[in-house]
Subunit: 165 residues, 2 copies
């Protein structure tokens, strides 16, 4: 018998170079992995080309999986200002793309995400990858940016903020 | 006899609250004002709604005026990090919108823009407004954000970078 899932969540980790994504289903307390991947525009692309590539690949993921909610991490402030600006530009297009398709976008702090998957807020990147693998019963460790995207989707599944961005 | 213009430029000043725009025509050394305005999403809008509003109004300006090039100022680093991130998110959507419609986007530093319109790089905001009014033979001072957008369009008309973003 096929299980009916009542919520499909797309987690996205927008990066200045690589954008990770991960889709999960939530049915009560049960979570199921659907797919994950990374969007990597060709190296040395113009920013405008990066944004177009991101938009079209994200639209393809959304069309394929039909998520009802999108979850993102807040931007991490501790990086240099050039990469912060680039990441924020990418993130603006990610939020626009999802919102324009009518999907609400929710934000979580890195602390909230790590607490949701590892149990405490100071977890290392590798611990996040390992816990995501365990929670979603994956055969192998997902790549770092896809793992972060799956982690924020798991966070959304567990905490469900009321107010979208 | 109607003058033929050989380049139409859209200048945009993407802001975390208001986004100014201004369209000019360039024919040799002669510049002509076409239109200007400001996109002001409703106060207290969600970021997602701001980005959708910006996208649709910008598409409308582009459809109405048919620019061949877009010019933007670089982001100003000296502001607080929250408003920097918000502005960069808006800016990402501005660049995406133009690039997705096939219009190349060029960037200029605030110094280059002020030099182009006022003659020196440390000019005040009000001087930029006054010089834009004079250069484009406007009847009245354009509002500050639209003036900045017209100024970067004038800069593009005079300096024409070779490489888009």
């Amino acid at each position: 018998m096929t299980k009916a899932y009542n919520l499909r969540i797309l987690g996205i980790d927008p990066g200045s170079i690589i954008t990770g994504y991960g889709v999960i289903d939530k049915n009560g307390n049960y979570l199921r992995h659907v797919l994950h991947g990374e969007i990597k525009p060709p190296k040395d692309s113009l920013l405008s080309q990066v944004l177009i590539c991101l938009y079209s690949q994200l639209c393809a993921v959304i069309a394929e999986t039909g998520p009802q909610a999108v979850a993102l991490e807040n931007i991490f402030y501790g990086k240099n200002v050039r990469s912060l600006i680039r990441q924020a530009q990418v993130r603006g297009v990610v939020i626009f793309t999802c919102a324009d398709l009518g999907i609400p976008v929710f934000e979580y702090s890195p602390l909230e995400v790590k607490k949701a998957v590892v149990g405490y807020g100071r977890a290392e990147k590798r611990q996040v990858q390992m816990m995501v693998k365990a929670i979603l019963k994956l055969d192998s460790l997902p790549p770092a940016d896809a793992a972060d995207a799956l982690a924020v989707a798991v966070c959304q599944a567990n905490f469900m903020k009321e107010q979208p961005v």
